[in-house]
């Protein structure tokens, strides 16, 4: 009776082991791109993008890629951790992690689980704590805060709710900060790249229009004709 559930859950767990969680994907990356990219490591069974409901920004996308065998998934993860793997754009590499069940939106439930809940009526108001929390909350509220109206006689369970809000605040702040750092890095790299490219372009143009040859003749230097490893081709 529970066995159908258990079987389903066991199959699901096995699938989780075979699945790779890809992060830092560009919004331009499509399923076929992912498939072709990871085909070199084994058979890709399915590719699912995790939809982004909540974060309003232009966050990098994530995907769950199910491979045929667990071994292949491990290989993907290890290779992508060692070498930066870039998809549909450079140089931000794609990150691969082992999947966990919570990443799957439509996961089956664990067999034999029981949920227990109970309602808590407002018990002895813990005024001092609640008040302090209220102050804290006001202090920490940032511009992203979406706080519910706080009633005037909170209970101890409400305190936990307040704590949760605070915690959420911290989370949001941390997330924002990470995104800022990423942008900063990207900008830095962009500038470096532009500078490098300019240099290369200049050299190329010099070589192309004969300036270099003239200068070489002038200085009695020999120019070898190997076009060096051009990085962006």
């Amino acid at each position: 009776m529970g066995s159908a559930e258990q079987v389903e859950y066991a199959a699901f767990k096995e699938k989780v082991r075979r699945t790779v969680f890809l992060d830092n994907l560009s919004p331009l990356v499509t399923e076929s791109v992912v498939r072709t990219a990871l085909d070199q490591y084994g058979t890709v069974k399915s590719v699912e993008f995790i939809p982004n409901y909540l974060e309003p920004r232009n966050m990098p996308r994530c995907a769950l890629v199910e491979m045929e065998k667990e071994k292949q998934a491990e290989v993907v993860i290890s290779t992508l951790s060692e070498f930066p793997f870039m998809m549909s754009g450079m140089p931000r590499p794609v990150r691969a992690l082992a999947a966990v069940p919570e990443m799957f939106g439509d996961r089956p439930r664990q067999p034999g689980r029981q949920l227990k809940v109970h309602w808590l009526e407002p018990s002895d108001p813990n005024f001092e704590v609640a008040n302090k929390l209220k102050q804290l909350v006001k202090k920490h509220a940032t511009e992203n805060a979406v706080m519910l109206k706080v009633n005037s006689n909170p209970s101890d369970s409400r305190c936990v709710i307040y704590c949760y809000f605070i915690v959420n605040e911290l989370f949001v702040v941390a997330l924002k900060h990470q995104l800022e750092k990423e942008e900063k890095l990207a900008k830095q790299q962009g500038e470096t790249l532009k500078a490098n490219y300019k240099k290369y372009e200049m050299i190329d143009s010099l070589m192309a229009d004969g300036t270099v040859r003239r200068l070489a003749r002038h200085y009695n230097l020999r120019i070898s004709d190997d076009s060096g490893p051009s990085t962006f081709h």
Binding site: M1, A4, N24, S26, P27, Y53, L54, P56, N58, P60, C62, F83, P84, F85, M86, M87, S88, M90, P91, R92, P93, L97, E102, F104, G105, Q110, G112, L115, K116, V117, H118, W119, L120, E121, P122, L133, L136, H140, V146, N151, V160, I161, C163, Y164, F165, I166, V167, L170, F171, V173, A174, L175, H177, Q178, E183, L193, K194, T231, F232, H233
Partner: protein, 578 residues
């Protein structure tokens, strides 16, 4: 002749009431015989098998053959006993009885029957007779499966032997009364059902928790009536089956629709056992739940318990006349109410569902979208739906938000779409007022989900392009600039990972220990906030960092918490990496 009696005090305590009368005794007009009686909500009929507690560790099993009351309000029953194998082990000889086999006592001599007080009755017992005697209606395999005991032989106390062929009379009672009852046209299951322990030796509050399991059949679940949730300490009501009162029986439990329902209340019992419930879908129209008795007084646990389970059913809109199921779901155990399954599964497939994105958007516009936060991250969407249905009596669609690389592993979030805006608003208010608590002490928090700002379609951060240069996807080897840049990104990713981990560590602590350290909580959070601020802004604000470090020192001294070094160490690692 009916005589009016006042209830004696003991009767009121036991919940004892006589049922239909049979008539006065022939020999002694002062004795009134009855067909049945009620004891603690159970109806016991003549020729029911019951448990008796007579001071021995194992309850005795007997069949009630006479129910009567004497002139001085003394209520008695005459019982013909069934012998357990242990009681007659000296006479078993080569016979090897099965573990749930008992023997009917017969013959002439002491030990066949007794007259006992009704107070000693412990509850009903399900005994089937598997004898091939042609007077015995054969029990179906289902009956046999759900029976607690069976007998196919009798033990003659005169001859001290186990015999196969049944005599015509056992202690003055026709033997047919000992065999299985005839199957009624309505096709009830076994006529004796074990009911919830109502005997005084059992604790009145059972703490058995029925596990909810699925069956293959379609059974209906009854609704969770509000009275059930509010009734703490309510005893379970399992109405006994009687051939004549089959459909009337559930009247007290039935809400508007003819479904039966059981509620188990319980106080905390350390010895409570979890009972497995299995649905038995006979051709019976009405199903009866069973619960395991958990009283320690019972001694040997009953090895085989068949229980009826509550199941997912077909739509609640349709009223199936077929089979009804029981809801064993809500257990008010120490104020925790177990969430039962939603009684509808097929209804989901009636309509073609829009993809989630559209539903979300639409719900946001209408105002029915709520986000439930602080749930256990291992919940599934279905469990969230059940939770909401159970707690708020609303049917919703829910989806657990998937984890990403930086989600805190101790929080989960679910998006819930209600049917109407009022429902959503009332849900938020209720959750704010009354704090629905999950099993691990965390309150579920509901927020109205703000409409998402439309995502900027600007390019992906981190991908650089140079016109005139083609792109390709590849794994880069360490000989070009892309590799270096890629590695820089890697470093950044690792740094973020470390920071997130430290944050999660910090964040998980307050929530888990929130109830214990409530008074210190604000300090903990203050500290946590400082840690986070540290790790986030340390590059830019050295001065404030020093100030915060001082603050942290102060808080640390106040708290003296041991996990402090780790969190600080996490920050320290980041410092080094910089």
């Amino acid at each position: 002749m009916s005589h009016v009696r006042e209830k004696s005090p003991e009767e009121k305590n036991l919940g004892f009431k006589w049922g239909t009368e049979k008539g006065p005794g022939v020999k002694n007009r002062g004795i009134m015989f009855y067909e049945s009686f009620f004891l603690k909500g159970e109806e016991y009929f003549v020729y029911d098998c019951v448990y008796f507690y007579r001071g021995q560790p194992e309850a005795s099993i007997g069949k009630l053959v006479k129910l009567f009351e004497g002139p001085n309000h003394v209520k008695k029953v005459k019982v013909v006993w069934f012998m357990r194998p242990s009681e007659i082990r000296n006479f078993l000889g080569d016979y090897e009885p099965r573990w749930n086999e008992i023997f009917l006592a017969s013959g002439q001599g002491p030990g066949v029957s007794n007259i006992n007080l009704v107070e000693l009755i412990g509850g009903k017992c399900n005994v089937v007779c598997t004898s091939n005697d042609n007077r015995n209606p054969q029990a179906s395999s289902d009956d046999f499966r759900c029976a607690e005991y069976f007998f196919c032989r009798h033990f003659d106390v005169g001859e001290l032997a186990i015999l196969d062929n049944f005599p015509d009379m056992v202690d003055g009672v026709k033997v047919e009364n000992f065999f299985n009852k005839n199957k009624e046209p309505k096709k009830l299951g076994p006529s004796n059902l074990k009911s919830n322990g109502d005997g005084q030796t059992r604790r009145p509050n059972l703490s058995s928790k029925l596990k909810v399991t699925k069956t293959n059949g379609n059974t209906e679940i009854d609704d969770n009536s509000d009275s059930r949730i509010s009734a703490l300490g309510k005893e379970s009501k399992v109405a006994p089956v009687s051939p004549s009162k089959q459909l009337h029986r559930p009247s007290e439990n039935i809400p508007t629709r003819p479904k039966t329902y059981i509620s188990n209340s319980g106080t905390q019992h350390s010895g409570s056992s979890q009972s497995q419930a299995q649905a038995e879908i006979d051709k019976a129209e009405v199903k009866f739940p069973r619960d395991s008795p958990t009283s320690a007084a019972e001694g040997t646990p009953y090895k085989k318990r068949k229980f009826f389970v509550d199941e997912r059913t077909s739509s609640k809109v349709h009223n199936l006349d077929g089979q009804l199921g029981q809801d064993g779901g809500s257990n008010i155990d120490n104020q925790l109410v177990q969430v039962s399954r939603i009684p509808n599964d097929d209804r989901r497939n009636w309509f073609e569902k829009l993809p989630w994105e559209q539903r979300l958007k639409r719900a946001q516009e209408v105002g029915t979208l709520i986000s439930l936060e602080n749930v256990d991250p291992s919940f599934t969407s279905e469990e969230v739906e059940e939770l909401v249905w159970h707690a708020l009596k609303e049917r919703v669609e829910a989806k657990m938000v998937e984890h990403t690389a930086f989600s805190c592993p101790c929080y989960g979030k679910a998006l819930v779409i209600f049917k109407s805006k009022e429902a959503a608003t009332s849900a938020i208010n209720q959750l704010m007022e009354r704090c629905l608590m999950l099993a691990d002490g965390r309150p579920v928090i509901a927020r109205r989900e703000p409409p998402r700002t439309p995502a900027k379609v600007a390019g992906f951060v981190g991908h650089l392009t140079i016109d005139k240069v083609l792109q390709r996807q590849t794994e880069e080897m360490p000989n070009n600039i892309e590799f270096d840049m890629g590695m820089e990104w890697r470093i950044l990713q690792l740094k973020s990972d470390v920071a997130w981990k430290a944050l999660h560590e910090v964040l998980s602590m307050p929530i888990l220990t929130s109830f214990l350290f409530l008074l210190r909580l604000h300090l903990v959070l203050e500290f946590a906030y400082n840690i986070v601020v540290l790790s986030c802004f340390m590059n830019s604000c050295r001065l404030s960092q020093q100030r915060q470090a001082k603050e942290i020192e102060a808080v640390r001294n106040q708290l003296k918490m041991r996990w402090l070094p780790f969190a600080v160490g996490g920050v320290g690692v980041q410092k080094a990496a910089e």
